[in-house]
Amino acid sequence: MSGAAGLGVDVGSTTCKAVAVDRAGRILAWRVEPTHPRIEPQVTRLLGALREEAGDAPVGATGYGRKRVPSGRALTEITCHARGAFARTGAAGLLVDMGGQDTKVIRMGPAGEVLDFAMNDKCAAGTGRFLEVILGRLQVPFAEVADQAARAERAVAVSSTCTVFAESEVISLVADGAPLEGIVKGLHQALAARVAALARGATGPGEVFMSGGVALNAAMVGALREALGRPVRVLPEPQLVGALGAALSVVPGAA
């Protein structure tokens, strides 16, 4: 096995992702952990583990904590997600990245370049945090979310996508005896509508791809597919796409 050609770290608001890639962009080793408030020691430890497993290589860093990554080349998540997604797909398209704090919609050109992007602004609505807060309130464990939504006979409309307002709205719905499954489904629909608005109908050439931790939630993928009226392709290891892009940014000649 050839050694690592690049290491990538994506220090997100919720999780910290690290990958080692070879010259061809294959992932040799990876780690995902909840982001620690002390970023430097955590990143140093994760990189140390990757180096041990796959060998030493230059470091690319992205995510909110990218400036805290020692001797890393820092790039924004938008650039890195596009680069990582293109490495996976090799095609132009629309990438929806749903993370803990941000939801990004990135339009990628035929060479994987960022043509345009939109993000939720200063607000947790439309992000993983929104689901985390409300599902926490409903005591629905993450593993059961998709099943619950699938079991719903019909969705209960949740009109607010503001995390604070939606939380109290959901409390009222529960108090009124609305079925839990229907509320879970309604939440995903509300969230998907918000993301679809950000994507402005997802026009433009190419497929719709999805990355980020929220892409692991099948209920969200389904709701987004419905809201956009187009197929949504979840990228392999969706959580690692940003870190992959960061790693590729330091590999000479990589996509």
Binding site: Y64, T76, E77, I78, E113
Partner: protein, 439 residues
């Protein structure tokens, strides 16, 4: 009255200039050993010292204006040319609020009026101004009490409610110039006649308040000065078409103070002659606003006053310069239709065609023209929480600019003066991603 008038004149002619030169001396002393403005920026403009002096004297003299001369508080888009011949000292609450914005005084002032029931969703200029009135806090020492409030709806409708609140507070007359919104390339004759009638009424009210008569020669002279000032400002801005641009967009934001607050005066024009000459000299010598200009950008909407340097520096470090802004350009166009032979009629025409009083196709036309004339390869549209009329339609403007001109366009959410509506980290992230997309 005579004593107050003498004090006002002394403040403007003697004491103000002395204070301004003391300030300048202190700044020079403070800077000694630190060298000129460094980092990614080119050498600073020498005219800045004169700009600071001009505005310091204006605000210092203003402290002694009430009781000495008639005082009018006016909106930025008000046809001030009509008031100048009557000897009014004019105060621009928006200009003052911008100063408070730069100094990050807005949250404190806003809290004072929010406690009275004003919503935080109101324009931050309104909250700043009312907050300053309520608390008496201002970075300029003191604002003179108005004898007349003069408001024109060509920049927004909010000004009407804002100035009504001021009228209730001060108990002085409020004149309103209502400018019908312009759909299509030009206002209709009946719309202009409607504005003209109001300006004629304004003259009568202003004459009554000031106790003076508006002589036709004096009106013509102010009109000539305002037009000349506008043309000089346009000349200054046009130097940004050169490569490299001899200054930065943020320089433009600060240097617009005289054309806003002192339009129609010889001091204003003298200043812009100085600035124009310096800018043209820099062009001749190839001195840029940035040390290395790699990309040229257009800025739309008001600046983010409290973060203007933060944003400009972040961009400048990668060689991005704002070479033109629709906001500073608005003052190069406002007075261009002024005709000294018919001040009232031409002012009606001119002030009805302010950018914010025009429909979206017209606004797109202005942005398109600026983008082409200044050879920009990108644009940042500031979606300003406080300025809805300026921000509405920007999503479509972004798409059209990107599609028609093939330039990269970023929509950036912020506020012109309330830092509580600005997430610095997220703003930086968007701007950085935008710059990275240039490759």
């Amino acid at each position: 009255m005579i004593w107050r008038r003498a004090r006002y004149e002394a403040a403007g002619r003697v004491v103000g200039p002395v204070i301004a030169s003391l300030d300048a001396w202190q700044r020079r002393r403070g800077r000694r050993g630190r060298g000129p403005r460094g980092g990614p920026f080119g050498p600073p403009l020498e005219s800045v010292a004169k700009l600071k002096e001009l505005m310091t004297v204006h605000y210092y003299q203003g402290r002694y204006a009430d009781g000495a001369v008639p005082v009018a508080w006016v909106t930025s888009g008000f046809p001030v040319e009509v008031l100048r011949p009557l000897g009014f000292h004019t105060v621009y609450p928006e200009n003052h609020a911008a100063m408070c914005g730069v100094q990050r005084l807005v949250p404190g002032l806003s809290d004072a009026v929010e406690a009275q029931g004003y919503s935080r969703d109101l324009c931050s200029y309104v909250r700043t101004d009312l907050g300053s009135v309520v608390t008496g806090r201002t970075p300029v020492g003191r604002l003179p009490r108005p004898d007349l409030l003069a408001c024109c709806t060509n920049i927004c409708q909010t000004v009407l409610y804002w100035y009504r609140a001021l009228a209730a507070h001060f108990g002085v007359p409020l004149v309103l110039v209502d400018t019908p919104y312009v759909y299509g390339p030009e206002a209709k004759p009946h719309q202009l006649a409607y504005v003209r009638d109001q300006l004629e009424e304004l003259v009568r009210v202003a004459e009554k308040v000031s106790g003076r008569r508006a002589e036709p020669e004096a009106l013509a002279e102010v009109a000539r000065l305002a037009k000349e000032g506008t043309d000089l400002w346009a000349e200054c801005l046009a130097t940004g078409r050169e490569r490299p641009a001899p200054w930065t967009g943020i320089d433009g934001f600060f240097h617009m103070a005289p054309i806003v607050a002192l339009r129609g005066t010889e001091e204003c024009n003298a200043y812009y002659r100085l600035l124009r000459d310096e800018l043209k000299d820099r062009v001749r010598r190839g001195i840029g606003g940035l040390r290395e200009e790699r990309h040229r950008l257009l800025w739309d909407n008001l600046p983010i006053w409290f973060a203007v340097r933060e944003v400009a520096t972040l961009l400048a470090e990668r060689g991005f310069n704002f070479v033109c802004t629709s906001y500073t350009n608005a003052w190069a166009e406002a007075g261009s239709r002024i005709d000294p032979s018919d001040l009232i009629g031409s002012a009606a025409d001119s002030y009805t065609h302010i950018i914010l009083n025009q429909d979206l196709p017209n606004r797109l036309g202005i942005l398109r023209r600026l983008a082409r004339d200044y050879g920009v390869d990108g644009a940042v549209l500031h979606s300003d929480r406080s300025c809805k009329p300026y921000s509405i339609g920007q999503v479509d403007l972004r798409d059209r600019l990107a599609a028609e001109l093939g330039i990269r366009v970023l929509l950036l959410e912020a506020d012109h003066s309330d830092p509580r509506a600005w997430a610095s980290q997220q703003g930086e992230n968007r701007l950085t991603a935008f710059m990275e997309s240039f490759g």
